[in-house]
Amino acid sequence: MTEVEVQTLAEARVEVGIATPAARPDAPPKVLGRFAYSSDLEAAGMLWGHTVRSPHAHARIVSIDITRAVTMPGVHAVLTHDDVPGRKTYGLEFADQPVLAVDRVRYYGEAVAVVAAEHPEQARRAAEAIVVGYEPLEPVVDPERALEQAPVHPERPTMGHGYRDDPRSNVLRSMVITHGDPDAEGDVTVRGYYETASQDQAFLGPESGIAIPDGEGGIDIHVATQWLHVDRDQVAPCLGLAPEQVRIHLAGVGGAFGGREDLSMQIHAGLLALHADRPVKMVYNREESFTGHVHRHPSRVWAEHRASRDGRLVCVHMKILLDGGAYASSSAAVISNAVSFALGPYRVDNARIDGTVVYTNNPPCGAMRGFGAVQTCFAAEAQMDRLAAELGIDPIELRLLNAIEPGDTLPTGQVMTGSLPVAEVIRAAAAIPIPEAEPLPRDPIRLPGGAGNTTRGEGVHRGVGFAVGFKNICFSEGFDDYCSARVQLHADGMAVVHCAAAEVGQGLGGVILQVARAELGTDDVVLETSTTATVGSAGSTSASRMTWMAAGAVRDACRAALEARAAQGGGDVDVERVYRHLPTWALDPETGQVTGERAHVALATCAMRVIVEVDVDLGLTRVVWIGAAQDVGRALNPQSVTGQIEGGTAQGIGLALMEEIQVRDGRIANASFTDYLLPTALDMPPVESVLIEDPQPDAPYGVKGVGEPPTVVSTAAVVAAMRDATGKPLRRAPVRPDEIVGLT
């Protein structure tokens, strides 16, 4: 097995036993096929739910006729917006999305009605029998034109929340960061325009779960999600229930990557179950899943980099436009990340960054691994390479010359403190030895395009690319970010840990056990299933925050439990503690400058060197090898950390080469794994990782999150290598074969 290289820059605070990783408790049941995913659940008397979805991207609803559906065999409930007993809309940050469409649909696949029946096939057929009368409207599909077209949401649901008041039509949120003197001139200027496509999280476990009435008017919902308590707080008002009447329990999660931050079937299954007074299970199929969750925002970025002759960045202008689609989701935070990390991990004294995310009638966009930083890293790193070429400076040298370090100021005015080993990460990635080129001819499985490549490799060009990127760890901009944990110590020595944090596959269960065992000094620790029923909110498994936050909360609860037991002289103890990271402050809506000490609590950096081979005649690309270095704070479990780097890299390779949700007139044209391509075992190169340990001073055990930085960087790094191989500008990800062979 591969040995992981760990370079430790500073001594971490030594914690007894904390360095010993715990075996993740979910692995054995997962390999045995005994792990209960949300799509595997059953309950006595269970019905199956099905959703009727809009075939139009934009239409007025003139009628909904359910008369035939309700009489069909096995059908127990057919519900429309009239049957929503509480609030008719919901949303992660703004309640702008109808539970079931009322008089208008704003995107292809929007939920209009739901059905419950004895058998899934009966439910599907009943759904087909519902007749919805639509009057199609012209969809708003171009994010630039959207600024002048009729508003998708005339009531402007996101305005008046402390954001900049932007009078342009369809603006969901716009931001400006003005830093130093944006008119400052350099000796050399490069300008570029870049695009990235919409990407699907494509978690393998489809949206699913089961809602079970409790017989007293309340409901238990077992579901795959990323944040149990925020689900509850959205579900309860729509069902007309008090929060404690809705209990959300974490079912097995088949991947998330941001796509389970928003609700999918939670309210719908709850409505059906309460109406039918029976448990209701819902499972989306793959096509429905493409419309059942938000996607990565497609982006357009205009950049201008000005530098001195000796390679110092003098001033950067960047304009960023994201297509938020039909509903707000987390778009307001995504655009904030996009502008905050737009320039990359470089010291830039003068900048003007404009960011806008708009409403359109395209599929809604929201969280996906990298969260706004992916799109701007792609643009910023391409600009750095062009600047290096223009100046005649080695691209890695140029990056080192401008690398930000503690004490430097971000464009938002935040003075960076703590761990920020950007130069070390760049040097470590650059130092990983590059494999030599493999001679031709060779087994076609190792040619670009694999066995489909019928040449002898005469058109194959090798290219080397490099990129670096960073993003925030934990929630930012004044958000009250906290995590609860509860520890019960029994007189017999056993400890039980409750934490509502979502294990989505990253190995959080192992981290929590590792912390609890080290703090309590016993291996006799049980981790309970995550639920809203027994413990407070853990916050979201997102923003690369959960290891940090859960480690903090579990550590504090364990220490408090030991103190309580000592104080009472033994016996049973039951304590709950809330952990908060250092406070953050909002950005000024007009200047983008931080209104307090910090907007972000920590940043994490990743750098990658990539080797590709591109068949310039066929337009086919093979990623040959990747060397990655990442700033991880402290690796509690090096095997899990490298697993995150390898998996995060794969998703970035997908966006570089093949992943794109094809949207035509607002409709998704490739909602299947036949047409939406994911990297396979044949597409993935070996990834060599170096972990840079520079403990974050204010984080528990010095940890940082690790999930997102590799995804932020790998798209930029792969396309950089492709530019090197082809000599073409390649301004858009994914790169299409047509661009390589010169057909566009």
Partner: protein, 151 residues
């Protein structure tokens, strides 16, 4: 229609309708949800089982086609007390993250190693290329297959 088949060494009966897949019958009729449904069109391999010793996507096989045949699912390999060596290798290598692809990849690995006990890296990649994993980037899965192979 009534079908009779051998699943994980046991004779089982099921009452299926003509359009029902083997995957649906295994999961919802025979109480074996270990095989996963992630695409239902044979692209992801999460539903992989051995049918008379051959690796198939059970979503692409009709339940009726399995009548009289022998099926091995991930539940038929090991037990919590004694994991199959491929299962053991997946755990040890860190090849399991969300785990939704794992049953299919375990079955694909078992299928590969039965035909090719000491596969080359290229043979491993090719054999597993019909199984999508969204979490791991495949590196630790390759490690697991190498560890489970005959040296």
């Amino acid at each position: 229609m009534k079908i009779e088949l051998t699943v994980n060494g046991e004779r089982r009966e099921a009452d299926v309708w003509g359009g029902e897949s083997l995957l649906f019958a295994l999961r919802d009729q025979l109480g074996l949800p270990g095989s996963k449904n992630a695409c239902e069109q044979g692209e992801c391999g999460s539903c992989s089982v051995l049918l008379d010793g051959e690796l198939v996507c059970s979503c692409l096989v009709l339940a009726a086609q399995a009548d009289g045949h022998e099926v091995v699912t991930v539940e038929g390999l090991g037990t919590p007390e004694s994991l199959h060596r491929v299962q053991e290798a997946f755990v040890a290598a860190g090849a399991v993250q969300c785990g939704f692809c794992t049953p299919g990849l375990v079955m694909a690995t078992v299928g590969l190693l039965e035909h090719t006990p000491s596969p080359t890296d290229d043979e491993i990649r090719e054999a597993l290329s019909g199984n999508l994993c969204r979490c791991t980037g495949y590196q630790k899965i390759f490690d697991a297959v190498r560890a489970a192979a005959t040296p």
